[in-house]
C-alpha cells in the first residue's frame, strides 16, 4: 500500500492513479454476486482501496465477472468489455469462468472465459470470500506496477483471434469489429 509515498506519485502518477482508483463495473452474472455487496459495504468496505462500483462501463476500468458465464451473458460481456476506456483490467471470480467449474457439462455455459475476452486475474474458489477479492485487488496492484496487467494490450494485439473465437461460438455477431487491423492504435 504505497499510496502515500509522494515520490512514487511524482515519478509515475499514471500508474499510481490506476492502482488506487479502480472504478469497478461488476457483471452480476453467476453466483459470485453474493460476495460483491458485502465487500463494498460496511463490514469489508472496498472503498478504502479506492474500488467503487460505477453504473456504466464507460466510466469503469475494472471489470469483475463474478461467476459462470452463460451464452446470452457472454454477448453482453463482450460488448461491455469493448465499451470500457482503454487501460482496463478484468478479474474472473470463482472456478466457473476458469474451467467451467460446477457446470462443466452444461450446454448453456462457456467453459473458459479467456478464450473470448482477455482476463488479467483469476480468483479461485467456488464463490470466493471478500478477503480473496481484496487479495486479488492487491495482486492487481502489483501487476499494474510491473506492467503485467496487459489484458487490453493482448486484446488489441491479437484481436483477430478473439474475434474468430467469438464468431465460432455465435456465428455472425451483430456489432462491427472493434479494431479494423490487428494491433491498430
Amino acid at each position: 500500500m504505497d499510496r502515500n509515498q509522494i515520490s512514487k506519485w511524482i515519478k509515475s502518477p499514471v500508474k499510481m492513479g490506476h492502482k488506487y482508483s479502480l472504478h469497478a463495473v461488476y457483471f452480476c452474472t453467476g453466483c459470485g454476486i453474493i460476495e460483491i455487496p458485502p465487500s463494498i459495504t460496511a463490514r469489508w468496505d472496498a472503498e478504502r482501496f479506492g474500488v467503487i462500483p460505477v453504473a456504466t462501463s464507460r466510466q469503469a476500468n475494472l471489470f469483475l465477472i463474478t461467476g459462470y458465464v452463460s451464452l446470452k451473458t457472454l454477448k453482453a460481456i463482450i460488448r461491455t468489455y469493448e465499451q470500457m476506456a482503454e487501460p482496463k483490467f478484468t478479474v474472473g471470480f470463482g472456478s466457473c469462468p476458469i474451467n467451467g467449474g460446477m457446470y462443466w457439462d452444461s450446454y448453456n455455459t462457456i467453459k473458459h472465459l479467456d478464450k473470448y475476452i482477455p482476463v488479467d486475474g483469476w480468483i479461485a474458489g467456488c464463490m470466493p470470500r471478500p478477503e480473496a477479492i481484496f487479495v486479488a485487488v492487491t495482486h492487481l496492484w502489483t501487476l499494474i506496477d510491473r506492467e503485467m496487467a496487459d489484458g487490453y494490450k493482448r486484446y488489441r494485439k491479437n484481436y483477430k483471434f478473439y474475434r474468430s473465437n467469438q464468431e465460432k461460438l455465435y456465428g455472425k455477431l451483430e456489432w462491427p469489429p472493434l479494431f479494423q487491423k490487428d494491433g491498430a492504435k
Binding site: E35, T41, A76, S106
Partner: protein
C-alpha cells in the same frame, strides 16, 4: 411525447442477478414492459439427471444464490419422502433454526437491494453489515459463508458446536437492538412512504390469477404461508403468527418483510429453548448404490420469497429421473412484473422489482 425503448439492462447496479427488462417508455411513464430472463440459465435440472442423489446436494444449493438453504431443505424433504427416511426430532429443530437464520439473512439482503434502489445507501450498508454477522454464525456452524451444504437426507451434517446457542442469542440481540435505528431512518421515514406507497399495487384477485405467493400474497391480506399450511421441520411445535398487510403495494410488501424478520427472531428464541437432545442423523445407505424406489412427489416449503416447490420423479435408479423446481420469483418476475410495471414511472422500475423480491437465478435455473 417521444417514445423511447429503454433497456433496464442485464448489467445494472443494485439488481440481484442478470435480468433484463425492455421498457417502452413515453416521457417518464412506462407503456409496456417485457421481461427477458435467460442470462443465468445453465440447464440445472438437466445436470441433476446426470448426478446421483448424494452428488446433487452440493449442486442443488447453487440454484439461487441469495438463499441456498431452502433449496437444500426442499431437496432433502423430497429425497426423504421418496426413500422413506425418518428424520430425528433434534434434527428437525436444528433445521428449522437454520432455515429461520437463513430467512433473516435473505431478508436483510433484500433490504440492501431495496434501500439501494431507493438511493438510501446508509440502510443498505447497515443491513449488509448485519447480514454479515449472521454469515459468521453460518461459517462457524457449517464452515462456509453462503453455500453450506448442511442439510443432509436423514438430518443435518453435524450438531451445534458447544456455546453456539449463546452465540446465536448474542448476535440476534445485537441485530435486534438496531431495529429502532432502522425504524427511524427507513421504515418510518416519510420519504420512503411517499416513494413506496401505491406503487405496484395488486389486489387479491390479480395476485391469485397470476400465481403470486409469499409476501406478495401476504401484502394483500391473505395469510398464505406454507409453514402454516403444510408444516415441515418444527414449525408446528412453536407458537408464531403470519404478519399480514392490507393494500398490496410496495410499501406493505416491505413492511411484511420487516415484520417477518422480527417474527423469525422471536421464533428462533422459542425454538432454541424447546430443542430436545438426541441424534441428529439417521444413517443413509451407501451413496454409490443407493437406488430410491420409483415414484413421484411434490413437496413445498416457504422460502423468503414465497412458496418453493419441487416436483421430483425417480424411476428406481440411482439418479433422479426428472426434477422441476417451482421457484417463487418465476411467477413474480415474469407474469406479475410485466403486469405491474405498466404506467409506472421509470424511477420505480427497480423499486417495484425488488419489492416483489425478484431474484434472477431462480427464474432461469
Amino acid at each position: 411525447m417521444r417514445k423511447l425503448e429503454l433497456y433496464f439492462g442485464p448489467q445494472h447496479l443494485g439488481m440481484v442477478g442478470n435480468f433484463s427488462i425492455t421498457l417502452n417508455v413515453e416521457g417518464d411513464r412506462i407503456i409496456k414492459a417485457k421481461a427477458n430472463p435467460g442470462y443465468l440459465h445453465r440447464g440445472f435440472e438437466k445436470l441433476m439427471e446426470y448426478r446421483t442423489w448424494i452428488q446433487n446436494f452440493p449442486l442443488v444449493c447453487r440454484i439461487n444464490v441469495v438463499e441456498p438453504d431452502h433449496m437444500e431443505m426442499i431437496y432433502a424433504m423430497a429425497v426423504e419422502k421418496l426413500a422413506g427416511i425418518e428424520v430425528p426430532e433434534r434434527a428437525q429443530y436444528i433445521r428449522t433454526i437454520y432455515l429461520e437464520l437463513a430467512r433473516i439473512a435473505s431478508h436483510l439482503f433484500g433490504l440492501w437491494a431495496y434501500a439501494n434502489m431507493l438511493g438510501l445507501d446508509t440502510v443498505a450498508q447497515w443491513a449488509m453489515y448485519h447480514r454479515d454477522l449472521i454469515l459468521d454464525l453460518f461459517e462457524e456452524l457449517t464452515g462456509a459463508r453462503v453455500y453450506h451444504i448442511y442439510i443432509w437426507p436423514g438430518g443435518v451434517r453435524r450438531d451445534f458446536p458447544p456455546g453456539f446457542k449463546e452465540k446465536i442469542i448474542k448476535t440476534l440481540h445485537s441485530i435486534g437492538s438496531c431495529v429502532p435505528d432502522y425504524n427511524d431512518i427507513f421504515f418510518h421515514n416519510k420519504l420512503f412512504y411517499q416513494r413506496a406507497a401505491d406503487i405496484g399495487k395488486l389486489n387479491r384477485e390479480q395476485v391469485t390469477a397470476m400465481g403470486g405467493v409469499g409476501q406478495v400474497m401476504r401484502a394483500t391480506g391473505m395469510k398464505y404461508d406454507i409453514r402454516k399450511i403444510e408444516p415441515y421441520g418444527a414449525y408446528d411445535k412453536v407458537e408464531w403468527n403470519v404478519p399480514v398487510r392490507e393494500n398490496g403495494d410496495a410499501y406493505s410488501r416491505i413492511m411484511v418483510v420487516r415484520d417477518e424478520m422480527i417474527e423469525s427472531v422471536h421464533m428462533i428464541f422459542k425454538l432454541l429453548d424447546k430443542m430436545p437432545g438426541g441424534k441428529t442423523y439417521t444413517r443413509t445407505p451407501n451413496p454409490f448404490k443407493w437406488n430410491i424406489p420409483a415414484g413421484e412427489t411434490y413437496v413445498r416449503c416457504e422460502s423468503s420469497r414465497g412458496e418453493l416447490g419441487l416436483y421430483m420423479v425417480s424411476d428406481g435408479k440411482d439418479k433422479p429421473y426428472r426434477v422441476h423446481f417451482r421457484t417463487p420469483s418465476y411467477s413474480h418476475g415474469l407474469t406479475i412484473l410485466e403486469k405491474v410495471l405498466q404506467n409506472e414511472s421509470i424511477a420505480d422500475v427497480g423499486n417495484i422489482m425488488i419489492s416483489l423480491y425478484v431474484v434472477a437465478p431462480e427464474i432461469d435455473r
